[in-house]
Amino acid sequence: MTLTALIALLSHWRRKPGQLATLIIGLGLATALWTSVQAINAEARASYDEASATLGGGTVMVLTAADGRIPVSTWSRLRRDGWAATPVIEGEFIAGRERFTLRGIEPLSAPGGEAAIAPGDQALGLAFLTAPGLLLVAPESVEALRAMDGLPPVEASAAVARGEIITDIAVAARLLGRGDQIDAILVDTSARSGLTPLDQLVPELERRTGTSNGEVAQLTGSFHLNLTAFGFLSFAVGLFIVYAAIGLAFEQRRATLRTLRALGTPVWSIMAALILEALALALLAGAIGVVLGYVVASALLPGVAATLRGLYGASVSGALAVRPEWWVSGFAIAVLGALAATALSIRRAATLPLLASAQPRAWALASARRFVQQAMVAGGLLLIAALIPQFFSGIIAGFALLACLLVGAAVILPPALALVLHLIQRIARGPIAEWFLADTRQQLPGLSLALMALMLALATNIGVGTMVSSFRLTFEGWLDQRLAAELYVTTSDEAQSEQIRQWLEPRTDAVLPIWNADTEIAGRPGEVYGVIDHATYRDNWPLLTATEDAWDVIAAGDGVLVNEQSWRTLGLSLGDPVELDSGSPLTLVGVYSDYGNPNAQAIIGLDALTARYGETVSRLRYGLRLAPEEVATLSEALQAEFDLPANGVIDQASIKAFSLAVFERTFAVTAALNVLTLSVAAFAMFASLLTLASMRLPQLAPVWALGLSRASLARLELLRASVLALLTWLIALPTGLILAWVLLAVVNVEAFGWRLPMHVFPLDWLILAGLAVLAALIAALLPARSLIKRPPREFLQIFAQER
């Protein structure tokens, strides 16, 4: 019986293949976006786990020298003593306009061996080890490096993050001019026992435990939550499509259901058939969605990897593996979504009055009452959204606020649109205009879900766009200020550092040491920098808040500046004592913005730095002030005079370009998800209009009979779609701006530790309005075309039939 009912119900789709396609594509797209986000998150998590496993499950100790370099013989000594130690050389390397982190590893002693070089790609092994060696880079960077002369062969590897070059340590030593010096030694302290302790063997080296999985996971947690929220939003938008399609199908199948019931099919049979149908559709769409999600995730992953690297220094593989955790979740959400969307239909089927006929108009009229209900629900949600910041804080509260805001705004859309149309109708003149507005209002219930989807997509677009643009503007301004020196020099060792400093003094306006030491700031690991008393800082350093005499106090060695991140996390106020791990606490005299740095940082006077940290201060870098036209000459002279490491001299423009490139990559993913969400919404609109078109003949026929040509009717259809899109955009605008504010002032502060000023970009809004109208027009075009082509016979038949 259930089977018969199911076959009868399924026959509907044979008659309406377009509707079936809509349903499957809608659910498929929604699943795809969700799955892709899950896949990216799963890959990132797997990379963190793998990283900690490769490094011996978090038992890796990193040995570094206070003055920056370690003789390679120190490493040999550790090996000869039995320690599982591997050397690392790391440095900056500029190729063309791109700046890379060049990392030289020693595959023979590295934990995980050659697998660490390029997982699953043993073919690279020998070439990697033998002269001239091999540079492994992310696929996007291959061209830039191949264009350079004098480099070893370049190979693309998905295992390498963007902005990174992995090569054999011999090649790295040559390219960076390191000779027999290395930067760090990694020791797997769990591998072997009974050895001479490291503090006796190499007392001169600093020991710290490598970044454990926990820290990275914590740091990146908010980022992944962010992505998940985005994925869920996309899914919600997609669900509107499914809900609309299933709702319509139900309306159209009332007659079938009635007939089945009249023939004696029990209610539970029909319900079972509806559930089975939903499951079948969900599995089909889920499969499509999971495959599509994989494609999307593969395309986005390199960008995400770059973001994670740029923001948190977390290394994530650029290649996507098929993992059950995300494809199962993709299917699960497709099934759940389909069942949720079918729930209403099932309930209606259960209570279907046996003798009632199809009543589309009554259904529409009843919605007047529904508008009131909707408005009340929306009001409630928006009120909660407004109250959340008063009572709660934290990233979860931020997302709860976003959820209430977006759902509230979506739910209020239909009543608001109805109200606006009603108001316009009052002042409208002429029968066609009045009919047009009345008819638009009548269509609202059928279109409302698609319009909600469009509204959400537009609001997200405005919100996220505003956030990214605000960030970019702030960031650029901040870079301009902060990178005040014209030239930056990195020296090889302290002796050379001092030599270069003396050489530079008479040749520049000022030599600003960029010296720093690792420290703990109020118990959190971080870095402290020393500054000399110079106008460059007073004029350019961007302070968020500061005491009047901040720079004087710093120069005197009595005060400290901290970055915004630590200021917020530690809840400090000006005048508070700040505990550094060396010497007595210093008074907080100011806070500076420090975008893109996940760690704590502080600035004190240079003399205070050397006095407190002594030998542990790294004294290798300088910022130089000089006339811009002398930059090139001095840069060349420096290179010629001293044996500087490759990329030892970098001008301001290169650093800015590099920083902005990191920024652009960071938000490339957000932009891509944004466009995808908007496309899904446009598709929702198209699907709804297409299905409505066939149902609207009874409304159009009388108007046609009264003398309005098919072409005019089609034009009115297009106009209607545009007007609705425009009105939706009007409501999306404030929603999007509030969204942007929440992202900038709540979510960003929690996720990254910095708050950004909000900038508005009206031109972008106008462009988006244009896009929304365009999307609506494209969506309405096909139904309008078929209206023009529809033979008059069909219009006439309307009067002969009672639907």
Binding site: V72, R80, G82, L108, G125, L126, I169, A170, A173, G179
Partner: protein, 357 residues
């Protein structure tokens, strides 16, 4: 002849399906020196490394016994493989080193492997005073026991360590170095491939094995092989079965068969008298017949053999002390102690390559 494992060089090389011989050893040589008949050895320099040859090894196997009579085997091997025929300095050195160590008991087989590049003091071989090392593993002249004027290899200290075992052994030679083939020029195929090959088979040793069950004091005999070459296998040779015997009579036998791709074998044997006089036997004089195989690491490996050298009236059966003496290293192979019974009694070591995939 000794196991000719070429280092990572070849494994890292994506050995195509057509790779010749075991571990790519049959491949052509370019720029490397080739052994010449009639070359005189120069000691102690020749105990050290020869970077101009592609491969070289210091290969020691020991048959051991504790106070209860339980039999053990121990292995200590250092391989050198050159990517280019020069020594090079620092990171740029093209010399790669691989260490293998193992301890075999009747019920367990422990092994360890170390890899390192040359030129940095992590691995290498110094001729004088003699020291072969990789990480903390060493084989060095025992300066306190070495009689002045004696060969540098005649008194050695040996140690190695893995995750589950370690050992420290003291070795003293009771006889002279022995040079295989034509004064150390050892031919490896009818096609003329050859290597320099000499042996110190007369060690007596004492020492301690540290095993998961506790320390074991052992005594026994050891055999050290020195071999270097640039292309020891012909391209049609797939692998080999190699034996070394310490016979109760005080005599020693080294023999091997190279298995060719057409199913035939190339055999060679060296008979060493108790005072170190060597007789070389040509292809066909020695026969090795597999009697019984065991499933080891997914392969069928012969663990009992009949070994016949009619010219010496030798007809013995050898059986593995532990059939599972598999070395699952970069290049995997079977290497373990055997008992010798039949016309002659004694102990020995068996090595088999080319049985894996």
């Amino acid at each position: 002849m000794r196991i000719v494992l070429l280092l990572l060089a070849a494994i890292l090389l994506s050995a195509p399906a057509t790779a010749q011989g075991f571990a790519g050893l049959g491949t052509e040589v370019e720029g490397f020196a080739t052994p010449q008949r009639g070359t005189r050895f120069d000691f102690p320099a020749d105990h050290g490394a020869h970077p101009e040859y592609r491969i070289e090894w210091w290969y020691l196997t020991a048959v051991l016994e504790d106070a209860d009579g339980t039999q053990y085997g121990a292995q200590w091997t250092l391989f050198r493989s050159a990517l280019e025929p020069q020594s090079g300095d620092g990171w740029q050195s093209p010399q790669l080193w691989m260490g293998h160590a193992a301890v075999t008991t009747p019920t367990a087989h422990y092994h360890a492997e170390r890899l390192a590049r040359g030129g940095l003091g992590v691995a290498g071989v110094e001729a004088s005073p003699f020291e072969a090392y990789i990480d903390e593993w060493v084989m060095r002249s025992a300066s306190d026991r070495l009689v002045p004027g004696e060969d540098a290899l005649s008194a050695l200290d040996l140690s190695a360590r893995g995750e589950e075992f370690s050992y420290a052994l003291a070795l003293d030679a009771e006889g002279p170095l022995v040079f295989h083939g034509d004064h150390g020029f050892s031919v490896k195929s009818a096609g003329g491939q050859a290597s320099y090959y000499y042996t110190q088979p007369f060690y007596r040793l004492t020492g301690t094995l540290a095993l998961p069950g506790g320390d074991v004091e052992v005594t026994g005999r050891a055999w050290l092989d020195r071999e270097y070459s640039s292309q020891p296998l012909s391209e049609t040779q797939l692998g080999w079965d190699w034996v070394s015997f310490h016979l109760d009579s005080g005599e020693k036998l080294m023999g091997f068969q190279l298995r060719q791709s057409d199913g035939s074998v190339y055999t060679s044997a060296s008979w060493i008298t108790a005072n170190g006089e060597l007789t070389t036997y040509a292809d066909g004089d020695l026969t090795l017949t597999a009697l019984e195989t065991a499933a080891v690491a997914g392969c069928n490996v012969p663990v009992r053999w009949r070994v016949e050298l009619p010219a010496r009236g030798l007809e013995v059966e050898i059986s593995a002390i532990n059939a599972q003496s598999w070395m699952p290293t970069l290049f995997s192979y079977w290497e373990g102690p055997v008992s010798v019974e039949g016309s002659h009694g004694g102990r020995g070591y068996l090595e088999m390559t080319g049985y894996g995939e």
